[in-house]
Structure formats: structure tokens, C-alpha cells
């Protein structure tokens, strides 16, 4: 089309070999992999712009439901910044964060791990049963439970990976079905005849309580030592989520494995030609995603509930998909997205007080994700065109790394 051409350099060959006009990355792929603008200003500007747009849309929605948008938002903010809410928001965000990182690992190489939900529930359940059954001295019990959860999550995800590379089964289908199987398996095992026990005085069934020694205390002691006093208990495993985020970032950006992963996601054919074993990468990635998924339930299990019961938080795996999309697969972006989602979920109750149905929060979350995704994709496309023009323009004006280094301006032709 109107690809810029440069008359000064006869080396701009256009459409001569079969594929000289690169096919643009399809939007769905770019969105899934979190491709976005690369310039720093745009990376900060785009989400701000997107959030601003979604705020405006949300306000219009609130107005349409008959509420006063400003006072509704104001009451959400007021409620969301109370100390009690902050603790809940942070805890919620921790769960969302781990879930979103698990999803993002798959996204990075164009694998849709829909099965994070089943992986974390099965992992939390089996790890809870294990933790409740045995008593070990302080650090060992916790480590054993966490390790067991990681193994279960990894194995459950590996099934989908192996099916994909050996039988060509789409990971979307297999993980959705594995979710259903996990649900059935937990329902079967969460029974007082098997791995669980009835809670007296209620219809709840739960795994045996993890003994005192095997629990992780809250972070409040540490927080008050640095001058932050909060009423509720902040998950003691909050630092684990931070570590997972850092490890994720380091692996993706600074290791060979991460490079292979990124390349496989961006261009499977180029990755294969470069020597990446695509089949092995699929299995590894699914396992890594499942291992992180196994951690999702740990802060709650070891820090708050100490058992897996019918009341254990469910559906986090699906929230993780949206949070990963919103956070652009970037560890820091995911953290902000997780906090935003947790804030919206936490403050949904207060909307009822101003006569707005709390379900509108779900609409808000959808609006935010759609806006961010669309804005990013538009900005990304705009930036690519801009870069192509800049490169052509800089070359046209003789700003050229190769020639500058030689210190001559002689043309090659």
C-alpha cells in the first residue's frame, strides 16, 4: 500500500520476493501477547488514556441507570480507601495477580491456558488435604504444601500440553475440559468418606484443618513494624506473589528460555528455524503456567482458611485471564490491573447503597478491558507506521548507523 519509499536508497525492495510485504500481526495475537507500544511515553500514556476513556464510559453508564455518576464513584472511592477495604483489596489482588501471571506465561507464547481455574482448585485442594493430614515442623510443612500445589498444578496443565504436541488437541478445548474434570474430581474427593470431613453444625465439608505449625501468619506484624497498622490480616504470602512477578520478568527478559518463549509466541516458524523445539516449549510453558497456577490458592489456604472447603474462592482462573489482558502480560501492569479489579470487586457492594445494581461493576470491568485492549492495539499500529516513517525519514536525511560509523557519506550504489 503506501509503504514509504526512499528514492535516495535503491535498496528498498518492495514486493519483489513472495513475502516482501510483511503480514501485519493479527490484532487478536497482538492483544493476547500484550504487544503494545514500545516507546516509554506511549507505554505510560496509553493506559492512562484508556483508563480515562473507560471512566467516562462508566460515568455515562451510571448516568443511564439513573444514578448520579459523580456521587457513585465518590462513594466507591470513599469505601475503597477505608482501612478494612484496603486489606481486602490487597488480599484479593494477590490472588488475581498470581492467577494473571499464570495466564500471562501461556499468553507470551500464544498458548491460551483456560485451565488455570481447574489447576489452582485441584492444586489447592490436594495440597490442603496433604497439609491437613501430616504435621511437620515450621518451615517444612508450609514448603511441602506449596511444593505439592505447584506439582499438582504443573501436572494438571502438562496433560493439556502433552495432548497438544502428541495428538494436536487445542489447549483451549483440553483445558476447559480439564476444568470440568477437576471440578468433578474435587466433588468426588471432598467427601467425609474420602479426603474431607463434615464441619459440625453446618452443611460444609472441608479438608482437615492445617495444623498451627503449618500455617503462614499474617503480614501485619511486619507492616506495623514499618509503621503501617491495618485492621484485617494481610496475606503472609503476599511476598510470594511479588517474587513470582520478579522471577517471571527476569525469565522472560533475561534468559535463553524466556527468549525462546517470546520468539515462539511471536513467530512459531522463525522460532523453529532458529532451533527452538516447538513441542518441548509448549509442554514447558504449560507446565510453568500450571506451576504458578498451583500457587494461586496458597495465600488463602495457608494464611486464612487453613482448609479447602466448599467456600474456597472459585473462578479466579477466569478473572486471571482478564487481568492478564488488562495488565498487558507485564508483571507491573498485571499488578496494577489486579489492584484495579480488586478495588472494583471490593467496592461493588457500596453501589447498592446508592441504588445502583452491584452487577454494574462487571460491566465496568468489561469496559476497562475492552478500552485498554482497543487503545493499545490502535496505538501499537500507529507506532509501527510511525517507526517505519521515522526510519525512512532518518535514512533519507543520511542519519544512518552503518554510514555514520564509517565516517563517510558515500552511497553504496
Amino acid at each position: 500500500m503506501s509503504e514509504p519509499k526512499d528514492p535516495g536508497k535503491p535498496d528498498l525492495s518492495k514486493a519483489e520476493p513472495p513475502s516482501d510485504v510483511p503480514e501485519p500481526v493479527p490484532a487478536w495475537k497482538a492483544i493476547m501477547q500484550g504487544l503494545g507500544p514500545t516507546g516509554l511515553a506511549l507505554r505510560i500514556g496509553s493506559p492512562l488514556l484508556a483508563l480515562l476513556i473507560s471512566l467516562v464510559i462508566t460515568m455515562i453508564l451510571l448516568r443511564a441507570t439513573g444514578a448520579d455518576p459523580f456521587s457513585s464513584v465518590q462513594s466507591m472511592i470513599d469505601y475503597g480507601t477505608t482501612e478494612n477495604s484496603i486489606v481486602d483489596i490487597v488480599n484479593r489482588a494477590t490472588r488475581y495477580y498470581l492467577s494473571a501471571v499464570a495466564v500471562a506465561i501461556g499468553f507470551r507464547m500464544a498458548l491460551l491456558n483456560i485451565g488455570v481455574d481447574g489447576q489452582y482448585r485441584l492444586a489447592a485442594f490436594l495440597a490442603a488435604a496433604l497439609g491437613g493430614a501430616i504435621t511437620l515442623p515450621a518451615p517444612l510443612g508450609q514448603l511441602l504444601v506449596i511444593a505439592a500445589a505447584m506439582v499438582v498444578g504443573g501436572v494438571w496443565a502438562a496433560i493439556a500440553g502433552v495432548l497438544k504436541v502428541t495428538r494436536g488437541v487445542s489447549e483451549v478445548l483440553s483445558t476447559i475440559m480439564l476444568n470440568a474434570i477437576a471440578t468433578g474430581l474435587i466433588a468426588y474427593l471432598l467427601n467425609d468418606q474420602r479426603l474431607a470431613e463434615l464441619r459440625p453444625g453446618s452443611n460444609n465439608v472441608a479438608t482437615p484443618k492445617i495444623p498451627e505449625d503449618g500455617r503462614v501468619g499474617s503480614l501485619n506484624g511486619f507492616l506495623s513494624s514499618i509503621g503501617i497498622d491495618l485492621p484485617g490480616a494481610v496475606y503472609g504470602l503476599l511476598p510470594l506473589a511479588i517474587v513470582v512477578g520478579i522471577v517471571f520478568w527476569v525469565v522472560i527478559n533475561h534468559t535463553r528460555f524466556g527468549f525462546d518463549l517470546k520468539v515462539s509466541g511471536m513467530s512459531p516458524s522463525a522460532a523453529q528455524a532458529s532451533g527452538v523445539n516447538a513441542r518441548r516449549m509448549i509442554v514447558y510453558t504449560m507446565v510453568a503456567s500450571g506451576v504458578v497456577a498451583g500457587l494461586i490458592g496458597m495465600p488463602e489456604l495457608l494464611g486464612a482458611s487453613h482448609e479447602y472447603s466448599l467456600n474456597f474462592p472459585a473462578g479466579l482462573g477466569f478473572t486471571g485471564i482478564t487481568v492478564a489482558l488488562l495488565g498487558r502480560n507485564h508483571p507491573a501492569g498485571i499488578a496494577l490491573a489486579a489492584l484495579l479489579f480488586a478495588f472494583l470487586d471490593q467496592t461493588s457492594d457500596v453501589l447498592q447503597e446508592v441504588d445502583v445494581p452491584k452487577e454494574i461493576v462487571g460491566v465496568m470491568q468489561g469496559v476497562v478491558v475492552l478500552t485498554v485492549v482497543i487503545v493499545y492495539e490502535l496505538v501499537r499500529r500507529w507506532e509501527i507506521r510511525l517507526q517505519q516513517r521515522t526510519v525512512a525519514a532518518e535514512l533519507a536525511t543520511g542519519h544512518d548507523l552503518a554510514r555514520e560509523a564509517r565516517g563517510s557519506t558515500g552511497s553504496a550504489s
Binding site: 518492495k14 510483511p22 500481526v25 527468549f259 522463525a270 528455524a273 532458529s274 544512518d400 548507523l401
Partner: protein, 535 residues
């Protein structure tokens, strides 16, 4: 030529794209009933100019006159309405339709009842075929036709829509020499019938053979117009095109050693249906030797190189590879080496096999990645890109800068995405990357396709230098001149088999072309969309 209004007259055409000027003050007159050749290098602005004439781009300045009448062409439909037709380099045909159906597609004659009037269409096509000597059976499926015949269908399509001026964009790029001769015969018949042909090419011998008039475009502007082919030499044209002397692919002294670097024997690759696409191929490449592989695209070259790289699974046969550093190992054994038939691609790359893939966008680059990330591609386990399991960003970046400078990759920096570079510069980056790290064997598929003459000469220089240092090279190219000039040994592949070995010092492109079509059996060539890029 008759003194009358010209078929097409372009006056002061200027077309700017943001930041650059693609065409600058182009003046071109094309008389009725002539074959007018427009030459220029890749990227000189030929395509843009033709797109302007075909209504795909609007000029910023200047005027287009057709048959003496000033016109504004907004869309290709306008151009077709004015009698201008374009035959694209890459055919736009529906394989599963017949020739007849393809020709009338989108311009179907109607019967009174609203159905398609096939009888009328057939009559017209047969009449046109006869009149212009374009013999094609209207009822065969296009998928059964060879490249040359498909091109005829494209020409018929354009004529069917009433074109009086035909633009042919690099029509010979996909043809073997015999097909080129047939095409030229057709063009002469079209001219005899009073049609005007605008022939775009950078292959000078062809231009001189077929054109009545030649115009040269360089850096977006016409540097010579209406040259008489009887009065101009190919060297003069080349100088006009590039503004300097034209490099030629050639090897001087033989550097071929006795050490067999790669020894393929009985290699067979089957399709999923069990049909051999590479059939019992045995091939030896010695250190310091460039082995050329000639063949019409789609005859097993792709599968062969992918089997050598371990991207494709070999169904039979062995591949042996001599390990060790250049000059490092004592040459006690000339036979032997490691059996790498079942090695993974990465292990082969680490052992010193470099690979310039034929499709740089699908296999050679990650377009969204930066240049330095692309420099790591295929070498992401080797220094200077990594240290242990860690990526060495500084090392990779430094070496990227080195490649950019040594291979004259035109870029303002190494942090731009590969997609922002032009095709030629992307190719230079790939060649530079694959030549680094002292490889022992280079699999080069179309290493100079789509790049300018200067860079082509530079890549040939690098190949010659590496060959002198003992590199073994398997060269695949659609540019027969490059293949003949740069090969020590030249094999012909046809239908997945090595059918002939020819001496590159004595063979002519014509002989090679006939060997490539299966030595006389010229009906069975499968479809290919290869293109030659050399000049």
C-alpha cells in the same frame, strides 16, 4: 512509430510518501503499438509509477494523458475503463477454476436470462487466443497449468477486459528461459495487433531482446527515456540504472579442499501422503566449496534444506557433518564426520551450520522484535548473545552494531523493530547474522533476493571470503546468473531428484533452464512463485 497521439504520456509525476519522495518529476511517453521497457533497480520507483498509472496510487503532482486525453485515475477500475491493464508479478488466479472461468471472473457476459453466457465467453477467448497467439485450452483447471501458461491466462484476463495498454510487472521473474522466449513471442504478437506493452524489468538482456524503446528510472526519476535498444549496450543500461558499474557474480581460483564438510546420501523426504518430495538425494559439499542447486521452485529444494537443518524429518538416508573448528582439526579423515540425521535443529546450528532461509519473514526474522533480538535469533545459545542461561544484552547489542556496520544495514539504530526496515536491509541483517560465529556450513536460500546491486556485490564478496576461509556453502537461487557465477559445483534438482550435474564454467543459463524443466519435459513443472532478483 507513427506520429500520432501517444498511448500514454506522463508529465512531471511526483509522488511523496511521508518523509520520502518515491517519484520525482517523472516524464514518460509511451507510443501506441510499441513494447516499452522500463528498467530500474528494486526500489527505484518503478512499482510506484506503475501503481499511479494503474490507479492504485494518486500522484501528488503531474498529469496523466491517455490517448491524448488528460485523465484522473482514482481506482484500478478507472484505469481498466481507460484500456489500461496490469499483469501482476504474482498471479491472481483461482486454482480450482478453469481458464475460462478465471478469465471472465468479475466480467462475466450475461445471457438474456441472467445466467453466464459461457458460449459467448468461450468464443471470445478462443478468438483472442488465436489473434494474439496465446494458446491455452479454456477448459482445463488452472491448477494443472505451469507457470508460463498461468501467465498467459493473466494476460488473457487483462485483454478480455479490453485493455489496449498492458503493464507487465517483472513478468520474467518466475519463468525459466524457454518460457521467457515464449512470452516474448506473445508480446511481439500483441504489438503486431496494435497493442501497447509496458514491460517492467531489471534484467537487461531481456529488455534489450524484446523492447522497442527503453526508459531507465533511478532514485524515483527518469534518467533516460526512449533509448533505442539497437544503440545502447547492456553495460550502459546498467550504469544508468545503478549510477555505477554493475558487479558480476564470479569465483576466481578454486578453494575447494578435500575435506567433506557435509555428506548427504540417499536422503528422502516424504509428504504425509507418502509421495517423495526429496527423492534419494546424495550430495557432498567440501570445505571451501560452493555447491549450487538449480531448479524451478517447488521441486524439493525447500524440503531438502529443511531436512538438512533438521526442521523437517528425513524419512530415509543419512546426513553426515564434519565437526570441529575451521583449520582446527587435523584433516586425517576426509570421510566420516558425525551422523547428524537425527539431530535437533539447535544442535546442528551449534555445530556450525548457518541458515539463510528463503522466506525471511516467516523463517528468518521476528518482525516485531528489535534488530538486536533478531541478531540473537538462531544463535540464542551461543556467545556473544548469551552467558550460560542468561542473555547477554550488551554482547548481543554490540555485535548487532558490528553487523549493521559491516553489512551496511541501513537503519538509524538497533532498537527499531525489524519490520521497520526495508526487505533488502532485513536480508543484509540475516546474512550478517548467519555469517558470524564462524560457521562451517552455510545453507543459503536466495541470499541476494530482493536487494540492491551494491549490497548484492557485498554479499557475494562475503561469500567468496568465507569460502576462501574454508566455508562450505549450499546455494539455492532463482537467479541463474548468480547460481552459475557463484558455484564451484552445480546440481539440478527436478521433482525432488538430482537429475544432472553441470559445469558452472561452461553452462549457459539456457542449458541450465532446460535441465531445470526436466530436460525436454516442460509440461510437468509445478507451480512456483519464485522470483529472480539479480541484475
Amino acid at each position: 512509430m507513427p506520429e500520432q497521439v501517444p498511448a500514454v504520456r506522463l508529465t512531471s509525476i511526483t509522488k511523496r510518501f511521508p518523509g520520502v519522495v518515491a517519484n520525482r518529476d517523472v516524464n514518460l511517453t509511451i507510443e501506441r503499438g510499441e513494447v516499452h521497457a522500463l528498467c530500474g533497480e528494486n526500489g527505484a520507483g518503478k512499482s510506484t509509477l506503475m501503481k499511479i498509472l494503474y490507479g492504485m496510487q494518486r500522484p501528488d503532482e503531474g498529469a496523466i494523458e491517455i490517448e491524448g486525453e488528460q485523465v484522473t485515475l482514482r481506482t484500478p477500475a478507472d484505469a481498466i475503463g481507460r484500456g489500461i491493464g496490469m499483469v501482476h508479478q504474482h498471479f491472481k488466479l483461482a486454482d480450482n477454476l478453469t481458464v475460462l472461468e478465471n478469465v471472465i471472473l468479475g466480467a462475466e457476459p450475461r445471457t438474456w436470462f441472467g445466467g453466464i453466457d459461457f458460449a459467448a465467453a468461450r468464443a471470445r477467448i478462443e478468438e483472442m487466443s488465436r489473434a494474439y497467439g496465446l494458446s491455452v485450452d479454456p477448459d482445463v483447471l488452472v491448477e494443472t497449468l505451469g507457470v508460463g501458461k498461468r501467465q498467459r491466462v493473466e494476460i488473457l484476463k487483462v485483454l478480455y477486459r479490453g485493455a489496449r495498454v498492458l503493464i507487465l510487472d517483472e513478468p520474467t521473474a518466475v519463468l525459466v528461459p524457454q518460457e521467457v522466449d515464449e512470452l516474448f513471442g506473445n508480446l511481439r504478437e500483441l504489438r503486431a495487433e496494435g497493442l501497447t506493452v509496458l514491460f517492467i524489468s531489471h534484467k537487461l538482456d531481456e529488455v534489450l531482446a524484446v523492447a522497442d524503446t527503453i526508459s531507465v528510472i533511478r532514485r524515483g526519476t527518469t534518467v533516460a527515456t526512449r533509448l533505442d535498444p539497437r544503440e545502447v549496450t547492456s553495460r550502459r543500461l546498467a550504469e544508468l540504472m545503478v549510477g555505477s558499474e554493475l558487479p558480476t557474480p564470479e569465483l576466481r581460483d578454486s578453494t575447494v579442499t578435500e575435506d567433506v564438510q557435509l555428506d548427504i546420501s540417499g536422503l528422502t523426504v516424504l509428504t504425509p501422503e507418502g509421495r517423495p518430495v526429496v527423492d534419494d538425494v546424495s550430495l557432498r559439499i567440501r570445505r571451501g566449496e560452493i555447491v549450487g542447486l538449480a531448479g524451478v521452485e517447488g521441486n524439493g529444494q525447500t524440503e531438502l534444506i529443511e531436512a538438512i537443518m533438521g526442521i523437517r524429518h528425513a524419512d530415509a538416508g543419512t546426513i553426515r557433518f564434519l565437526p570441529g573448528g575451521v583449520g582446527g582439526r587435523s584433516p586425517t579423515m576426509t570421510r566420516g564426520g558425525d551422523d547428524i540425521t537425527h539431530w535437533a535443529t539447535r544442535k546442528r546450528r551449534e555445530a556450525g551450520i548457518a541458515y539463510i532461509p528463503e522466506d525471511r519473514h516467516r523463517h528468518g526474522l521476528v518482525l516485531e522484535g528489535t534488530l538486536w533480538e533478531n541478531r540473537m535469533l538462531g544463535h540464542q545459545t551461543q556467545p556473544p548473545n548469551v552467558r550460560g542461561p542468561w542473555i547477554d544484552r550488551r554482547g548481543a547489542r554490540r555485535d548487532t552494531t558490528r553487523i549493521v556496520q559491516a553489512y551496511d544495514v541501513r537503519t538509524p539504530g538497533i532498537d527499531v523493530p525489524a519490520a521497520a526496515l526495508s526487505g533488502g536491509n532485513q536480508q543484509k541483517l540475516i546474512v550478517g547474522r548467519e555469517m558470524s560465529g564462524e560457521p562451517h556450513l552455510l545453507i543459503a536460500a536466495h541470499p541476494t533476493r530482493g536487494i540492491d546491486v551494491g549490497a548484492q556485490a557485498a554479499i557475494w564478496d562475503h561469500l567468496r571470503q568465507a569460502r576462501a576461509d574454508g566455508l562450505a556453502v549450499l546455494l539455492i537461487s532463482a537467479d541463474l546468473e548468480e547460481l552459475i557465477g557463484m558455484s564451484d559445483t552445480l546440481h539440478v534438482i527436478y521433482g525432488g531428484r538430482l537429475v544432472a550435474e553441470v559445469d558452472p564454467r561452461t553452462v549457459t543459463p539456457e542449458d541450465l533452464g532446460s535441465a531445470m524443466t526436466g530436460a525436454g519435459d516442460d509440461s510437468g513443472d509445478s507451480s512456483g512463485d519464485g522470483s529472480g532478483a539479480g541484475s
